[in-house]
Structures are given as structure tokens and as C-alpha cells.
Subunit: 221 residues, 2 copies
């Protein structure tokens, strides 16, 4: 590596580390107190970084909130995409997508609380950021459902139905993750398998007693 | 009817009518402009009621918004409950519940836009009002699912699963109704039958080509 580039990177490293620490502290404070009641003093104290340095590196509270939302939303969508084995059967793909989403949410409850409960309730521009995240997630699911139905002749109506159901499935996942915040003892795997049973087997089958079973935990998930 | 009561009602009627007109105008203005950009002047002009009279009857803009949310939320939940034939088979009950919700939303798109998109984005106390509405809807669906699974032995886990899935189903309905705002040409019946196919049949059956068919439109819905 070019020596000058190497030096530049080394000089920048502490700032990157500090920014990560500031953002980690910000997520915790926003999650616990909400946007309006979050104080820069608390973020500064939790991160161990002075307020002037936070302003200089990342900006004011609104900027910090926007950066947190974008960053966590990006991580969430990336963690879903990363988990999907694109060569597997559709149910296995969907299972891994749901599990990836719920695992991320379970491991980053503060992020989810900020994304889902607090960003939504702060109006623009935060609501717009969240709408973009949802569009990405819906697109991902719609692609998966369309691929699953690939061997069937889909008319325009079916294509539209899959788009609408992708939105429904994203809404179902958000809503069950929201329920999870109040029932944290349930595991991501259990939650994903409930959801999978609803959307893959359907209540009709569930009422009859047949269930969709995820692959063994030790194996693929 | 007692003559004095009758006279009192007659005297009160104009105020009730005016209040209805004010609230109908408020919903339209809030839906079109959002809470912050909605002006009392516009509501007053659309309702044909003077601003001082609006303040005297219903209060300031915040009061008007709160009343609108409570009233529309109550109407939505009532319209779901009213549509469910409690003696019918579980799938028919669920079908009518979904259809009742989506029909109300389709016929009151301004109300839905205010409830779902705008109240959510205005923070407290409006978010709290919406959370209560969701709790009611989730309780309704959980009761229905529990009744559907009644003949099976449900352990604690299954009971919890039904609660979580009731939340998921409400989230799915909200999300598909949100999608509908951007695709208004689709009918409530079509949307409800897509949703029913996802949650009753499941994608597993859909991929195989089997579908859940709603009862004839002319008959029960």
C-alpha cells in the first residue's frame, strides 16, 4: 500500500473509532429517552467524547439522529440480504430473510426502537428515511415471492398481488418485532417460525394441525 | 318521547350537525396538508363554520386533530367488529373482519391517511391514541384466532404465538392498506382476498396453485 495513503488512514482511524462510539451512545440515548428528551450532554458523557467534538464530527442532535437512522436501517437491510441463500428453495429463502431481520432486531433492540418507534413519531425528514427503508425491504420480499412463483404463469393481477403481499409481509414483520419489544423472552428463531407458519402454511393448515418446520438450528440457521 | 327531551334534542341538533361538518372538513384538510400545514382558516372555510365557532365547539387545532383520530379510530374498529359473523367458520369470520377493515379504509381514505400516516408522525399524544387502536384490533384478531384453534390443545407457547400472529396480521393489514393508498384502483375485496390467501392458505399452497376463495360477493360480502 502507498505509504502516504497508509499514513492518512492511520491518522483518520481515531476519528472513525470516535464516530462509532458517538453513534453507539446516541442510539442508546435516543432509544431510552426518545428524540426530544435525548440530551447531547448525555450522549457526550456516555461516549466519552466532548460535545464540541461531537458537533465538529457529526453535527447537531438532528444530524446525529438522521445518521443513526440511515446507518441502522442500512445495517438491517444488509443483514436480511446477507442471510438469504439465493440458490435455496423459496421457503428456505424466506425463512432466512425473516430470521435475518428478526435476529438483527433482537441483537440491536435499541436500533429497532429508534427506527420503528421513535423515527416514525418525529415527522419529516425522519419518516421519509424510514419510508425508503421499507421500500427496500418490500422490493427484496417482492423479488423473493416473484421468484418463488416463477414456474407459474403470473398475470398482471398476480404480479400486483405479490407486490401488495410483500408490503403486507414487511408490515407483519415490523408489527411482530414491535410485539417482541414487549415480550423480549421469545427467541428470534421462535418468532420467525411463527411468522413462517402464518405466511407459508397459513392459518388454514395451522388449524388442521400441520406445521412448517424450519431446518435444524445447528445446520443452516 | 317526553316533549321536553324532544325539544332539547331539536335545539342541540344544529350544533351536532355543525360539529360533524367541522370534523369532516378537518379530516379532509389534515389528510391533504398534514397536521402542521393544516390551517384553521381552511377548515373553517370548507366547513362553512366561523373560526370562533370551531374554537367554541371543539377547541384549537390540536383538539380537533385528537377528536378526529379518536372518532375515526373508533369507527374503524367498530366497522370491523360489526362485519364479523360470530357464528360462522373461522375463515369466514376472518374474511369479514379483513374486508370490514379494508372497506372502511377504502371508503374513508382521508381518515386512514390521517390515522396511519399523519397521526403516527406527530409524536405524542397522537401516537398513544393510535397505539390504543392497534391494541384493540390485535385483541379482536387474537380472540378470533384463539376461537379458531379452540378444538386443539393449545399450550402456553401456542397461545403466545397466536397473540404475536394477531399483531403480525394487524401489521400486515395496515401495511397493505398503506400500499393501497398508492394503488387506489384495486378493490377492497381483491385486497382482502389476497391477504386472506397469504394468511389462511399460506404461500406454500399459493406456490402449488391452490387458492382460498371468498364466498360470492352477492351473498355475504
Amino acid at each position: 500500500m502507498d505509504e502516504q495513503v497508509q499514513q492518512t488512514r492511520n491518522r483518520r482511524l481515531p476519528r472513525e473509532v470516535r464516530e462509532r462510539e458517538i453513534l453507539a451512545a446516541a442510539i442508546r440515548v435516543f432509544s431510552a429517552n426518545g428524540y426530544h428528551n435525548a440530551s447531547m450532554d448525555e450522549i457526550s458523557s456516555l461516549a466519552g467524547v466532548s460535545k464540541p467534538m461531537i458537533y465538529s464530527y457529526l453535527g447537531a442532535k438532528e444530524d446525529l439522529f438522521t445518521i443513526c437512522i440511515r446507518r441502522e436501517a442500512h445495517k438491517l437491510v444488509a443483514s436480511i440480504g446477507r442471510e438469504i441463500p439465493t440458490e435455496a428453495a423459496p421457503d428456505i429463502q424466506l425463512w432466512h430473510g425473516l430470521l435475518g431481520a428478526l435476529r438483527f432486531i433482537g441483537e440491536h433492540r435499541d436500533s429497532w426502537r429508534v427506527l420503528h418507534r421513535q423515527a416514525q413519531s418525529q415527522g419529516q425528514p425522519f419518516v421519509g428515511e424510514i419510508a425508503q427503508l421499507r421500500e427496500q425491504a418490500i422490493g427484496l420480499v417482492a423479488g423473493l415471492l416473484t421468484a418463488a412463483a416463477e414456474h407459474r404463469q403470473l398475470d398482471g393481477d398476480a404480479t400486483e398481488a405479490l407486490q401488495a403481499l410483500a408490503a403486507a409481509l414487511v408490515g407483519a414483520t415490523e408489527s411482530i418485532a414491535d410485539w417482541w419489544l414487549d415480550h423480549p423472552e421469545t427467541s428470534a428463531r421462535k418468532l420467525a417460525s411463527w411468522l413462517m407458519n402464518m405466511v407459508w402454511m397459513g392459518f388454514g393448515d395451522l388449524v388442521q394441525g400441520s406445521v412448517w418446520t424450519p431446518p435444524p438450528a445447528s445446520d443452516t440457521a
